[in-house]
């Protein structure tokens, strides 16, 4: 038997996208493996999925028109006209590949340029629905055609969305809204393909029955399945919208519940600058936007016990003065108290109480580290400290792309002696997106702030007084919320 892990490594290094994608499909059960190899394989599998799948447009409201008029016309001419067209385009594993690739990109962002090309090709291969097909879905969902269900309906989609597309409309009572319409039949298609667990396991290049692996697969399947029902997304977005209502800089468009169904999500239409435009804004503006995003991520995590798993540039609209609109809540993970506690403990022991042994115990409790790991604590701390680098000390720090890359590299450092004893428990899989997505995003903004200081405001075990003007405004907002505890309970 050939050493499979090594061979996969070759595929990764060679950047042979197509073949790696094929490799996804047919992992062969190989014999026994060391613990070290198992970890390596698990992570390698995710890389491979990222190669074979696509960073699908889903959460990134990629404008159909972005590539110019000719392209727009082309897409219109190729528009999906029937549910059969949808099945031909996204059936037979293609939709699943895209979603798996998207999911994997939450875990490993270290895609080669060739892999990115593959993902974007798959993404490009999905045309929008024809106006008639989109109208048909609306009619089926709301019981009447869009022209009757809305005062005004724009038949041309304004953006691609998660397994669907976004239309503008004005409700009968005059609200300007964005309506996300799901491709007909896509949920059934993806569900059917997801039902083939054996094949999925092979696609993941995972063959040995191992609890970690099955857990990971289960998590991916659960997240994808959840995304197929827009009602879950509407529910999540409404929770965030209610929670952040009145916030000085964070804005989440409200859901119009009576116009939201399994295949429709209707929310207030939001306006603002795209991430790309931010590059031309002043650094001060960019710093403020970054501070808002940072506060949003960690307030949501520590107070709502929820994490919006897609800090993708396409999911923000910027309004100046740090105002940010957060879009797309299709990938929200809710944490139980038990799941969150060890994470909080880890931060507390490493960054505040400076107690390495307690930090290590919390890592073990969380399942990140095996209890019998025969490595000295200072080695473990040294390895892990990078992830906490921006919050270990006070003082202004500038986020850089280099830092984000370093974090990514550290996370996937198979050569580390720690790799043999480390794992990512199922519940925390999505959290890696903080490292791999948020930091990359803030790095792209070259955002500077005293992140430690902001974190101390948010850390539940510190709850320090505000240290920035935004923090002060936020404190006023929090104080004004009579039903703060109630809102928090509602979220759980």
């Amino acid at each position: 038997m050939k050493p499979q892990a090594r061979k996969l490594g070759i595929g990764v290094v060679a950047g042979c996208v197509s073949i790696a994608a094929v490799a996804l499909l047919r992992g062969k059960a190989s014999g026994r493996r060391t613990a070290r190899l198992r970890v390596e394989r698990g992570l390698t599998a995710l890389r491979l999925v990222a190669r074979g799948g696509a960073r699908y447009a889903s959460n990134a409201p990629r404008l159909f028109a972005a590539a110019g008029e000719h392209r727009q016309q082309l897409r219109n001419d190729l528009a999906l006209q029937t549910a059969e067209d949808v099945a031909a385009t996204l059936g037979t594993m293609k939709g699943v590949l895209m979603k798996l690739g998207q999911m994997a990109s939450y875990i490993d962002d270290g895609l080669t340029p060739a892999a990115r090309r593959t993902l974007s090709r798959l993404q490009d291969s999905v045309p929008p629905m024809s106006p008639e097909l989109a109208a048909q879905v609306v009619t089926e969902e709301l019981g009447r055609p869009p022209e009757q269900a809305f005062a005004t309906w724009d038949p041309e989609p304004i953006a691609a969305a998660s397994i669907g597309q976004v239309h503008r409309a004005i409700t009968l009572d005059g609200r300007a809204v964005a309506v996300k319409v799901q491709y007909p039949g896509i949920a059934e298609t993806i569900e059917a393909d997801l039902g083939n667990v054996a094949l999925l396991r092979r696609m993941l290049k995972i063959s040995a029955p191992s609890q970690d692996v099955d857990g990971l697969l289960a998590e991916l399947r659960e997240r994808i399945t959840e995304e197929l029902d827009y009602r879950a997304e509407a529910r999540n977005q409404q929770l965030f919208a209610r929670y952040y209502e009145g916030h000085p800089t964070i804005h989440v468009p409200k859901i119009i519940e009576e116009l939201s169904t399994r295949r429709l999500v209707t929310s207030d239409l939001a306006d603002g600058a795209r991430f790309a435009e931010l590059a031309s804004w002043s650094q001060a503006e960019r710093d403020l936007a970054a501070e808002t995003i940072y506060r949003f991520v960690f307030r949501s995590l520590y107070e709502m016990h929820a994490f919006n798993g897609d800090p993708h540039p396409g999911n923000y609209l910027f309004g100046g003065g740090g105002r940010v609109t957060f879009l797309d809540f299709g990938l929200v993970k809710h944490f139980t108290d038990d799941e969150l506690r060890p994470l909080v403990e880890m931060v507390k022991h490493l960054c505040v109480e400076n107690d390495p042994e307690a930090f290590r115990r919390a890592m073990v409790e969380a399942g990140f580290l095996r209890a019998d790991t025969p490595l000295p604590t200072d080695m473990i701390v040294e390895h892990m400290a990078l992830f906490y680098d921006t919050v270990r000390e006070r003082g202004p720090r500038t986020m850089t792309g280099e830092y984000a890359s370093a974090v990514t590299r550290r996370f996937f450092d198979f050569r580390s002696p720690l790799a043999a004893y480390a794992a990512i428990p199922r519940s925390y899989v999505i959290l890696q997106r903080i490292n791999l997505g948020l930091f990359a995003l803030l790095g792209e903004l070259s955002a500077t702030a005293d992140w430690r200081c902001i974190a101390e405001e948010i850390w539940p075990f510190v709850q320090a007084p505000p240290c920035t003007p935004m923090g002060a405004a936020e404190a006023t907002w929090r104080a004004a919320r009579r039903d703060f505890g109630e809102a928090r309970r509602a979220v759980r």
Partner: protein, 300 residues
């Protein structure tokens, strides 16, 4: 095993894709011999096409003289991937190219065929690649394979459409010099042809060797080999029982709905991989636009 596993397999996908892209015209002078409203365009674009392709080769190899021609003249052992890509390019050009392009590649193949002649060591018979009987066998094997593969693993054709496909495809054989009157032009004629020709078919050592290679190509990476295995199982499942027996393949398990789905899922992944090769998406879109517009015209 001589080649680096991944390099070899990656060549298969990349070169087949390049062949396909180059064959789908950007600005055709005309709709070619089939056209966007044809059944042939639909069949050729079917998800099951890779299965049809492999089955074609398995069928074609069963004619000792056709096999001898390949065995004694082709560089296929040295460069199997290149040979397969060249065949794909030819088929795609004849199907999707304009008339001038299709005629040009057919003439080139006919010129090559005039040089391919010899004596088959197994039967002792002389052969010539330009022999209409051999060309017809190769043609019919391809047409029959497309029907069989799409029926089992693709989008099956209604009877009338299957007949239309066989009829449309007669031009492909004519382009290579087969007289029109001997080319089967319906599914029933196809069946009769097989009944007539059966006695000439057998699995020669050259066929066994070549197909043995094709079903389990050396130098393919383990993972590619496993994907190939799905395609190959599917191709074997679509073979007529007599062809399977000639090769000595065990009777395959019946294709259950579940197994069909699995094969289609494998084909879907393969298709996604193919789609990611440079130019493939654009080529597909060019064809889809023309097929759409033809359908609109037909629909009034």
């Amino acid at each position: 095993m001589t080649a680096e596993p991944y390099a070899s397999a990656s060549g298969l996908v990349e070169r087949s894709a390049a062949a396909y892209v180059s064959a789908v015209p950007d600005q055709p002078q005309d709709d070619g011999f089939f056209g966007p409203a044809s059944v042939t365009w639909r069949v050729t674009s079917d998800l099951s096409a890779p299965v049809a392709g492999l089955r074609s080769l398995l069928m074609q190899a069963l004619h000792p003289l056709a096999m001898a021609g390949v065995d004694q003249h082709s560089d296929w052992r040295l460069d199997p991937v290149g040979r397969l890509a060249a065949t794909s390019a030819y088929e795609a050009t004849v199907t999707f190219g304009d008339r001038a392009s299709a005629t040009r590649v057919a003439e080139r193949v006919r010129a090559i065929h005039t040089r391919v002649r010899g004596v088959d060591t197994v039967t002792g018979q002389a052969y010539a690649a330009s022999d209409p009987a051999l060309l017809l066998w190769v043609h019919v094997a391809l047409v029959d394979s497309a029907l069989a593969a799409s029926k089992l693993f693709g989008t099956p054709l209604a009877d009338a459409k299957a007949d239309a496909y066989v009829r449309e495809m007669t031009i492909a054989a004519e382009l290579l010099g087969v007289p029109h009157e001997i080319i089967p032009a319906s599914v029933a004629e196809l069946r009769r042809y097989f009944a007539d020709v059966r006695g000439e078919l057998r699995c020669t050592p050259a066929a066994a060797e070549s197909m043995g290679y094709l079903l389990d190509p050396a130098g393919l990476g383990e993972d590619i080999a496993e994907l190939w295995q799905d395609i190959r199982d599917a191709a074997i499942a679509t073979l007529p029982g007599w062809a399977r027996e000639m090769y000595g393949y065990p009777a395959p398990d019946p294709v259950t709905a579940e197994r069909r789905t699995e094969i289609r899922q494998a084909l879907g992944v393969l298709d996604a991989v193919f789609l990611a090769e440079p130019g493939v998406l654009e080529a597909r879109q060019r064809l889809a636009l023309r097929m759409r517009s033809a359908a609109r015209v037909a629909g009034g």
